[in-house]
Symmetry: C2
Subunit: 443 residues, 2 copies
């Protein structure tokens, strides 16, 4: 291992202690290692196995669940220097990448061939493909194009004991043996360390055309979402911002979004019939009670709307300390979910802004509070838990796309139940019998 | 267990001894059980665990790899009577089904709501969803819509010891814990018995519009396939039939397909711009050397072409005894694969008809031979193996959609290599420590 690949300086080590999740403990790592080759990763893991030292794999640390946080005495394995795009193949519509490649870089490389890598988490300009694979990341385009799991065809991973495992395939189809590839996607670095990935690409979609619809309530906006989906439309984007979100975005970036609306629904299409589809959706929005439906004039204006949406989380982070939730419910229960969050906010006397991937039923309630006020902190934490409780009661999941990490470990057990949890622990033991890979995360 | 749910009559037991794969041994089962409830399945598995008796789950036994074949002394667990569609939900675009539901019945139920369940194996009018999940079945529409794995959101399964496990979700997105759902899809009944599935539906596509292009060689047809995919088209179907296949279909059903062509490529689109896309594809076919490009006059004529394609396997089965292979290669290697199969056929002095899901690089070489001629049988078996060898050498997989079953066990080990195979065996042991679930299959 070359010297420059190893950092023990306490300031550097501290800088790699945690991801972007609030309220998650982070331990003190012994060392941060920046491998550049598969062999170096194997060396680190062999050594860690020999010495029984925990290893915490990291991408860009943009995660929101504490999954990349250091544990005491661990080796932080930062994969950011394994950042080469090894291949973009337009005939087979695949790319072969190292885990440290930034999502946006892969998107740009694919665009150069008329292709796209769809999953687009909010952090897409800085997050890495390895991190996306670890968390099973989603994004705004998932309502039409699906999540990370749909795009990972094959993986090279290093196991806890340093052995190299290849899973999956480079072909469009294949069913030889158990699907270890998909078992690894979303496993949050607890089963193995990804060192190379074969991902599927798609032909680049045409630019989106969007509309913005203002609703007098989140319930009526949710009704519109259900009507659009029940009518067989396939929007390329369907996002819902509540008043708090809209005002926060305006305050941050003067976007001129309508501040009096209770719910702003953004819907876009990218297919050849997008104008007609938008017109039909406009009608459905009006029928569901929209007070205003404003189609974008062109694709540039559509893009501005999407930019506004992308600012939602950073904008709300300026309003106070935040805890960002990630509950997904069946989309038919979106209205009940949003009503319930309002009730929680009122009862707990807190602001909870909600931005949702509405077409997927995936909500991000953002609990905003004053971290200097212990009573408010306590109510914020209670609210955060009540939101997950509500999501489960509506047939949902405690995490649509951010992962479990440290933040939601107790909730995973509740969601899975004892039989599934027991099997998951046994699978963990198959891959990592000594329990050195990202210990204490997820399971 | 009600009496009528249990068959011990030797004729009945013999009738359930095997699926549609040739050249796979089948044992003699002790009993065939037809459960109608989850509790009955649990009872069977608890009993089997107590008595250490093997259990072989079966759907409609349309499989092509021997995965559903009985083993000596086993309980055959036929799921065909658990055949209710429990829910079709157009807002959430899901269906909840029991495993014995026939694929076409689910398709029809979905169509009643303007929806579709895309995976469409050739046997779709008789195969069951449980069997589709077991094998990870594909079909003709996969080039645009993907395979079974993409459509299974959640499962209820009974474990080897009789416990009930629920995996996955009813939501569009979700990343809570390891993806046991996808681990189970394609596991060929070796990990658990599916008793209920939540599957994703899509808005029903518009009728397809197709063209047929005649090529002087499979190589030039493969070139056209690559050109179409490299140009960013997303056909809803892209199938290739060689001379043997075309003539067999004509002989069976007088379809009037062009018998002098070396390779007949069928391409279809179902999007709003389908006429324009077909015209562009016609140009690409001509540029790649097509001697004739015949667009279908309308959707009815398109449908006839697809009917002809669907007859390929049964038509070739009339030419002699057959062994049907299922090798998928990166689509850029399709030409090399087809050339290689021709070489094998010539060298082994056998007819090998090839029908391919060309857009996916998934070929079905059908080795045709006289089962009464031991020398020919030996050459057929050699050819079958040489075809898989060739597929692996081209970066492919020995099974794109039919599964490993009994037919390709030795080949699975070669494809996976020792590290992956070892992990797969350990995962099998987690789910089925006594090894009673479909023993001897897949792994």
């Amino acid at each position: 291992m070359p010297k420059e690949a190893v950092a023990v300086d306490p300031d550097v080590v501290a800088a790699y202690a945690h991801d972007m999740a609030g309220f998650c403990e982070a331990g003190v790592a012994a060392v941060v290692v920046f491998p550049e080759t598969v062999e170096q990763v194997q060396h680190v893991l062999r050594t860690a196995t020999e010495l029984r030292v925990p290893v915490v794999p990291q991408g860009a640390r943009t995660g929101l669940s504490g999954g990349a946080n250091a544990v005491d005495g661990c080796i932080v394995l930062s994969m950011v220097k394994m950042n080469r795009i090894l291949e973009v193949d337009p005939v087979n519509r695949i790319a072969v990448v190292q885990p440290g490649v930034v999502n946006a870089e892969l998107s740009r490389a694919a665009a150069g061939h008329g292709l796209a890598y769809p999953p687009d988490p909010s952090s897409w300009e800085s997050c890495t493909i390895g991190g996306n694979i670890g968390t099973g990341a989603g994004g705004l385009c998932c309502v039409k194009y699906g999540v990370t799991s749909e795009y990972v065809l094959g993986l090279d991973v290093v196991l806890a004991d340093g052995r190299l495992l290849s899973t999956g395939r480079r072909t469009a189809k294949g069913v030889a043996g158990y699907d270890l590839t998909r078992l690894l996607v979303g496993s949050e670095g607890t089963l193995a360390v990804v060192v190379e990935a074969v991902v599927a690409l798609r032909p680049a979609p045409a630019p989106q055309l969007a509309l913005a619809a203002e609703f007098p309530s989140t319930a009526s906006a949710s009704e519109a979402v259900c009507a659009v989906m029940a009518s067989g439309h396939v929007p390329s984007l369907m996002e819902l911002m509540d008043t708090t979100t809209v005002r926060a975005v305006n305050a941050m970036a003067r976007m001129g979004l309508p501040e009096e609306t209770r719910a702003l629904l953004l819907v876009a299409f990218d297919g050849p019939a997008k104008e007609a589809e938008l017109a039909a959706v406009a009608e459905l929005c009006r029928a569901a009670g929209a007070s205003e439906v404003v189609p974008a004039e062109d694709e540039a204006e559509s893009d501005l709307l999407l930019q506004a949406r992308r600012l939602s989380l950073p904008a709300m982070e300026r309003l106070g300390t935040t805890m960002i939730d990630d509950v997904a419910v069946p989309r038919s229960r979106l209205g009940a979910m949003l009503d319930g969050v309002e009730e929680i906010a009122a009862r707990q006397r807190l602001t909870i802004g909600v931005v949702s991937h509405a077409g997927d039923g995936n909500t991000h309630p953002v609990v905003i509070f004053d971290a200097a006020d212990p009573d408010e902190v306590a109510r914020a934490k209670e609210s955060f838990d009540e939101i997950m409780e509500l999501g489960l009661s509506l047939g949902g999941t405690v995490t649509g796309e951010h992962g479990i990490g440290l933040l939601k470990r107790e909730w995973l057990a509740r969601e899975l139940g004892p039989v599934a949890l027991g099997l998951q622990r046994q699978i963990k033991a198959v891959f990592d019998p000594l329990g050195i890979l990202n210990p204490g995360k997820a399971l």
